[in-house]
């Protein structure tokens, strides 16, 4: 074999390589975009869970919003106070007002208080139970207790209790809304953690009929409406509905005469923390 052929091939390939290298170098210069160097730094300080609770599509987008000054560091609900402070210091901005939201369940009908109409033997998920005669639960608006929300929660903030109710741990909840989407009954709602007045029921039937389904159901007696500030609570289809735009007027006295305990004054966790896990340990 002639050495010329080998050298020729090497020269052609090398030549092509050089041409492309020049092209890439030119493109790199021409299309170069300046990026704030703080962006990478800030992104590295964020939790990286991409939960979306801040309203941005992921942590990188949130970092951009921070650098641009559109949002304040406290808008991230999954960082602790120290981390928020660190980001604020780095950017030299205010940490902002922490508007901590939590997921609340609009049902308190665990297996200890809610009637079961029939036994459900299908796939053990809430979504499946919802299409098979509502899992046989007496109250068709209630929680099935089959842990779709616990599975959906990225932050382990939801633990199923022994009576089959999801217990939301406020300190861990970032209000990302995954449980709201996961619940086929639409029972989760996100609200500021300092909103204390809550109706833990979605049952739309009245009186004894409601109480037969569940002893903690709202039976539509409207005592809370009388006891609360005007227009704070109203009755809709036999269910007390709170107008959260007037929540500043709320007093614990509104809950005192509730015969079933459907409306509660809430501080911290919604249900007792005894979980399945601790139950099996003790």
């Amino acid at each position: 074999m002639e050495i010329g052929a080998v050298l020729g091939a090497a020269a052609i390939l090398g030549g092509i390589g050089i041409v492309f290298a020049v092209l890439i170098a030119v493109a790199h210069r021409t299309f170069w975009v300046w990026e704030d160097p703080r962006l990478d730094e800030v992104a590295a300080m964020l939790p990286g869970s991409n939960c979306g609770a801040c309203g941005e599509p992921g942590c990188r987008a949130f970092a951009e919003a921070l650098v641009e000054g559109r949002l304040q560091p406290a808008a991230c609900t999954s960082m602790g106070e120290a981390e928020v402070e660190a980001v604020a210091d780095y950017l030299g901005v205010e940490a902002g007002e922490a508007n901590h939201q939590v997921a609340r369940l609009l049902c308190a009908g665990g297996s200890h208080v809610a009637a079961q109409q029939a036994e459900y033997r299908g796939l053990p998920t809430c979504a499946a139970a919802a299409v098979v005669a509502k899992g046989g639960k007496g109250c068709p608006w209630g929680c099935f207790g089959l842990d779709d929300c616990e599975v959906a929660c990225t932050f382990d903030a939801i633990v199923m209790s022994r009576v089959g109710l999801p217990v939301v741990i406020p300190e861990l909840c970032t209000a990302c809304g995954d449980c709201v989407e996961a619940c086929p009954q639409g029972l989760f709602t996100l609200m500021p953690s300092d909103h204390s007045l809550l109706v833990q029921c979605r049952n739309l039937v009245h009186g004894d009929e409601a109480e037969e389904m569940c002893t903690v159901a709202c039976n539509g007696c409207a005592r809370c409406v009388q006891d609360a500030a005007p227009e704070l609570i109203r009755m809709e289809h036999g269910l007390a509905v709170i107008d959260y735009s007037r929540i500043d007027l709320a007093e614990p006295s509104a809950t005192e005469r509730c015969p079933t305990g459907a409306i509660i004054w809430l501080e911290g966790m919604q249900f007792p923390a005894e979980s399945r896990l601790t139950g099996s340990l003790t």
């Binding site: 109409q117 029939a118 033997r121 299908g122 796939l123 998920t125 979504a127 499946a128 919802a130 299409v131 098979v132 005669a133 509502k134 899992g135 046989g136 068709p140 608006w141 739309l204 039937v205």
Partner: protein
């Protein structure tokens, strides 16, 4: 497209591919269990003390109640009017007083707005004279309107409003009306008894439909395990119309729209298309008989034939019941439940839905009440997929249930849509043959819901 039928093992082999006497490929052969009620003539259920008419008992928009508590209604009076085109009005199925318009258990497990009528025990239950006009004098559009006003919906289960089916867009001309008398669901004998006892009604209903659509040809398909029905229909067939009665292979899901069109006309309905796209229309035989019935009696759809069957009920029966009869009253009339009764299903065991509340009423679309015993409903343990491919051989739509199930388990809805999830009709053949007892049909049902939810969120 029916041809000669070969019996024996060769016949079974041919039938798998839809080559034996015409038919469709794949499908399954669940035990029919029809012997419990197939021979029993229909009887009329005495009027119960109360009937409950949920406003949502048809596909489409729920009806809107137009009566209030305390109103007196006669049998056949309009109590809820239809809202929009794909909707259907609801009529009082018994004379009496409106007890309430409020939430009541619905067969699907939820509580729905329902009109409760306390039946007047001293009423003769005679309707007002002729609420539905005579059909002979009506032109096609008036016929469709009369059917709409009579609240006629598909009685085969889905309760799709009949007038919508009878108003196909002009760009899709219909050449043949098919009547589905296959009743391939196990246990049910509603359609069977209708064909045996009221064959003239089937033919009259078909005549009305053909007139409404301006169609010259009608075909009635009946599974070969109902020779008495075929005989009755052939004997009473009209001589002035091109109507034929064709025997069909006994195989589930023979009564599914696309399968029936394949079996009777040899036409393939492409994925995502409707029967009208191939120039035909399928109507369940009970619905066809009901069309005739409303024109004959002048009374809107207020009663239907229901099969009460299964080994969990003491005396199975085929009953003519007022729409809105509570399950409790119906079962009481049939001697009650046996001690080992465990599950009550509205519709057949393959595609029906379990009912959790005995106060749930029968709807227009309730074909039967099947009471299953402990032995019937034992849930076998589910094992991982062994990729045997039996589900592929069972799926009458040639989907890949094994692939779909894997995608469903990991929530990959987009890929499921690419794998033609939308074509799945939830017949349950895949789950029926699965040796690992994987609840495939249930997974697909959930996936369909998830896809729909995703679409509404996106919109």
């Amino acid at each position: 497209m029916a041809g000669p039928v070969v019996r024996g093992p060769v016949g079974r082999l041919l039938e798998r591919w839809g080559l034996n006497g015409g038919g469709f490929a794949h499908g399954v052969h669940p035990p029919p269990h029809k012997e419990l009620t197939a021979h029993l003539p229909t009887r009329r259920l005495p009027f119960p003390d109360e009937v409950v008419l949920p406003i949502r008992q048809h596909a489409g928009k729920p009806a809107r109640p137009i009566v209030e508590r305390g109103d007196r209604v006669e049998r056949g009076d309009l109590v809820a009017e239809s809202q929009g085109f794909v909707s259907s009005p609801i009529h009082a199925s018994a004379a009496g007083t409106v007890a309430d318009v409020d939430f009541w258990p619905h067969p699907d497990g939820s509580w729905e707005q329902a009109i409760r009528i306390r039946v007047d025990r001293f009423s003769t239950q005679l309707p007002r004279p002729r609420l539905v006009p005579r059909w002979e004098t009506l032109d096609p559009s008036e016929l469709v309107d009369a059917i709409r006003r009579a609240g006629v919906v598909g009685l085969g289960g889905a309760a799709f409003p009949t007038h919508v089916k009878l108003s196909p867009p002009p760009e899709y001309p219909i050449d043949t009306v098919l009547v589905n008398g296959s009743e391939c669901e196990p246990y049910l004998t509603t359609d069977h008894r209708t064909m045996v006892e009221f064959p003239e009604r089937v033919h009259l209903g078909l005549r009305v439909m053909m007139r409404a659509l301006g169609v010259e040809r009608g075909v009635i398909g009946v599974e070969l395990n109902k020779p008495d029905a075929i005989e009755a229909l052939r004997r009473s067939a009209p001589t002035d119309l091109d109507v034929s009665v064709v025997g069909l292979t006994v195989k589930y899901p023979q009564g599914a729209e696309k399968m029936l069109i394949r079996s009777l006309l040899g036409r393939e309905v492409p994925g995502g298309s409707l029967p009208m796209h191939v120039g035909t229309l399928v109507q369940n035989v009970s619905s066809v008989a009901t069309i005739a019935e409303v024109f004959e009696t002048g009374l809107p759809l207020v009663e239907r034939i229901v099969t009460v069957t299964g080994r969990g009920v003491r005396s199975p029966a085929n009953l003519i019941v007022p729409v809105g009869t509570k399950l409790r009253d119906l079962l009481e009339h049939c001697g009650g439940l046996t001690p080992d009764a465990r599950e009550i299903v509205f519709g057949g065991p393959m595609m029906g839905g379990s009912v959790a509340h005995l106060d749930a009423p029968l709807l227009k679309g309730t074909t039967g009440v099947v009471v299953l015993t402990e032995a019937d409903v034992r849930v076998p343990e589910s094992y991982p997929c062994i990729r045997c491919g039996r589900c592929l051989d069972a799926c009458p739509l040639f989907l890949n249930p094994q692939l779909l199930a894997n995608l469903a388990r990991s929530g990959r809805w987009d890929e499921m849509e690419d794998a033609h999830l939308a074509d799945c009709m939830l017949c349950g053949c895949c789950a029926y043959v699965c040796p690992s007892n994987i609840p495939l049909a249930q997974l697909f049902r959930l996936s369909k819901d998830a896809v729909r939810r995703k679409r509404t969120v996106a919109a």
